[in-house]
């Protein structure tokens, strides 16, 4: 570290503006030092193959959730639905850094991570529609699901619980010594839960191969960040656990990929966990029932959804640097839309679960 990476001053941290301060740099926290790392978009771009896949998956995440949203309004989804609009870039770009045999421990705004890890849209749709062939067979819904064939764990509603689960998954990876790493997501609200503390501490103590991504989307349901925590940024908790941390703009998918790949490489090499705070904006309500305009600053909302939409940004950046042509980008969107709608149409043909099986499978044999 040298002058190239200037120390963030106390004043800068106290007055952090997620919109302005992270535009072309990110914060790297190590011990008592927080330093700014500047980057150009060009130098963090992934190779063409990765970029194309990233673009398709990000588009697919949005298409799947928009398709689900309209399916909900058409009455096809029992219960409720939570979406990760605004988080598609961070979700996809991080999870696609995982190898096929590595585990993902997602939250409920990680449609993109599911897709990037290989969970088929068809299965996600069936799950939301409460169908027999969904991954839970209709026993749960919305993003309460895992997908074992692709090593994705399921989550429960109790926010925070997935972080300890992730430490256990990472524990197994470490115990078996094959150099596998795990990614786990938690929201800004989830960092207030005791589980977060217990798990991050344990992961740090045992140097577990784990990357914890705090998806700070600026709202925990209807609670403001200022009512959630008093530190200048959640990433500043990392040194308290003896961990390195990064504060990044999570709407910049190539940046997420760039930082996450490094954190995973460190984890796989035995360097231990990394805490990444990824800033996005929840570009919708908490759930389909949430009248978010009641409590969200709509000017702020408009600014972020217009200028920090991860998909629009990825479109523009890939075209600007000649990674994909405008035509290819449009085709990728069209393909994603078609794949999401085909998945929906097929899932709507799936049978509903048979009540005769209600009490089956309570215990494993």
């Amino acid at each position: 570290m040298d002058a190239k990476y200037p120390l963030a001053t106390r004043e800068e941290l106290a007055g952090l503006d997620f919109y302005a301060d992270l535009a072309d740099r990110y914060l790297a926290v190590d011990g008592l030092e927080a330093r700014w790392v500047s980057f150009t978009q060009k130098e963090i771009l992934p190779d063409r193959e990765t970029a194309e896949r990233m673009h398709y998956l990000v588009s697919l995440a949005r298409a799947v959730e928009e398709t689900l949203d309209s399916a909900f309004r058409a009455g096809h989804i029992p219960g409720t639905a939570f979406f990760g609009r605004g988080n598609e870039g961070a979700s996809v770009a991080s999870a696609m850094c995982l190898e096929d045999h590595e585990w993902l421990v997602p939250m409920h705004r990680n449609c993109g991570a599911h897709l990037a890890k290989g969970h088929p849209p068809r299965s996600i749709m069936s799950h939301f529609f409460g169908r027999a062939d969904g991954p839970s067979g209709g026993r749960d819904g919305n993003f309460h699901m895992g997908y074992r064939p692709k090593r994705i764990t399921q989550l429960i509603s109790h926010i925070g619980t997935m972080v300890p689960i992730a430490t256990g998954v990472a524990w197994a990876a470490k115990a078996r010594g094959k150099g596998e790493a795990t990614i786990n997501y938690i929201g800004d609200g989830g960092t207030s839960a005791g589980d977060f503390h217990e798990a991050v501490n344990f992961a740090a103590v045992r140097k577990l191969p784990l990357v914890i991504i705090i998806d700070n989307n600026q709202y925990a349901y209807k609670t403001l960040l200022s009512d959630q925590y008093a530190c200048d940024a959640l990433v500043l908790k990392a040194p308290g656990y003896g961990l390195p941390g990064f504060l990044i703009d999570g709407t910049n998918a190539p940046l997420v990929h760039h930082v996450c790949s490094q954190a995973l490489a460190r984890a796989r090499a035995g360097g231990g966990p990394t805490l990444i705070e990824s800033i996005t904006l929840r570009a919708a309500g908490h759930s389909v029932y949430d009248k978010f305009a009641d409590y969200v600053d709509m000017a702020h909302f408009e600014k972020w959804t217009n200028e920090r939409d991860p998909i629009k940004r990825l479109d523009e950046t890939l075209i600007e640097f000649g990674v994909m042509t405008a035509k290819e980008v449009a085709a990728s969107h069209d393909q994603a839309r078609k794949d999401a709608e085909d998945a929906r149409d097929e899932a709507l043909q799936s049978p509903m679960p048979d009540p005769a099986g209600l009490t089956e499978g309570v215990f494993a044999e």
Binding site: S136, Q154, P164, A166, G168, A364
Partner: protein
């Protein structure tokens, strides 16, 4: 003969030797060998990555154990006292218990809970945890009372693909073997064995009253049955051994023979397992009953510390004898 505590140690030791995926999480279990020394000497043998002194964080390490179990490992989690399992409640009841039902795979995890009263251990080191779990599908709940059961059931629990609430009784850990009633010290075989879940054990056969119990109160049950024998009343004593799965047939068959039944447990009567069992008997074999179904459990109070209070709180042989006499006279 070995003690109950030694039996638990043997089970853990042998299972860890048998299967590399078996590992232990718990507070103070490694360097210190555990609050009750069940894992004394384990870290030296198996290393600190399999006998893990975890930070003080029950929810955290229970969750971590569940995560490892999802990946096919076989964690055994020691709680220092059963009482502290409330810290981990959501991890067990909401995550582990329903994971297989939600088709997200088995959770082969054992939760060792040192349970029940030990002289003046107080409100937070004396509780019986079964009622916190009994109403939740997907959890096995076992309650070994002998060294034989402790060893065979712990081995069985580790090999079981489901989450197992393994209640072990502090009172029995170091109970002098020679002081135990003969029936509570069955011979422990050489070599490997497991005790199947869902099979109650008849500790004493009888014709007049069925006395159904589990956990620490097997002692009071046997003493009371002895007293009643002097009265000329023949009491059948059954140790349920596991609550989930439940050996319902053993209960029903016994009461069909005797016509009178008393459920006995150390946990509180209200909301206790005895209530559910009494309802089953009333629903299924009402026509065989010659007297009302009776229950003995602790009264509506928290487990008190001071000796006279604790004595009054816990089910005693005297209370059991009185209840049995009352039933006999009915």
């Amino acid at each position: 003969m070995i003690t109950y505590r030694e039996a638990l140690s043997e089970a853990l030791w042998e299972e860890m030797e048998r299967d590399e995926d078996v590992f232990l999480f718990g507070e103070d279990i490694g360097l210190g060998g555990g609050a009750f020394y069940v894992t004394k000497g384990f870290m030296e043998k198996f290393g600190r990555d399999r006998v893990v002194d975890v930070p003080l964080s029950e929810a955290g390490f229970t969750g971590a154990a569940i995560g490892a179990a999802l990946c096919g490992m076989r964690p055994v989690v020691e709680f220092q006292f059963a009482d502290f399992v409330t810290e981990s409640y959501k991890m067990i009841v909401d995550y582990a218990a329903g994971n297989h039902y939600r088709q997200m795979g088995p959770v082969p995890i054992v939760l060792r809970l040192p349970a029940a009263a030990l002289v003046s251990a107080g409100p937070f080191h004396s509780q019986n945890p079964e009622i916190w779990f009994f109403g939740t599908p997907g959890l096995k709940i076992v309650a070994p009372t002998t060294a034989y059961d402790a060893k065979g059931m712990l081995k069985g629990a580790i090999r079981d693909p489901n989450p197992v609430i393994f209640m072990e009784y502090k009172k029995f850990y170091n109970y002098p073997v020679d002081d135990l009633p003969e029936v509570l010290r069955p011979e422990i075989p050489e070599g490997d064995y497991t005790v199947p879940f869902g099979e109650a054990r008849t500790l004493r056969e009888g014709d007049d009253i069925s006395l159904i119990t589990f956990g620490t109160t097997v002692l009071e049950a046997l003493e009371a049955a002895e007293v009643l024998e002097n009265d000329g009343v023949s009491v059948e004593v059954i140790d349920l051994r596991t609550l989930v799965p439940l050996d319902k047939e053993a209960i029903l068959e016994s009461v069909k023979k005797t016509g009178k039944i008393l459920f006995l447990h150390e946990a509180r009567k209200r909301g206790g397992v005895g209530g559910e069992l009494a309802a089953i008997v009333s629903e299924e074999v009402f026509e065989y009953l010659d007297a009302p179904v009776r229950r003995i459990g602790a009264p509506e109070a928290h487990v008190p510390l001071s000796p006279p209070l604790e004595r009054a709180y816990l089910p005693s042989t005297e209370k059991v004898v009185n209840e049995l006499r009352d039933l006999a006279a009915f």
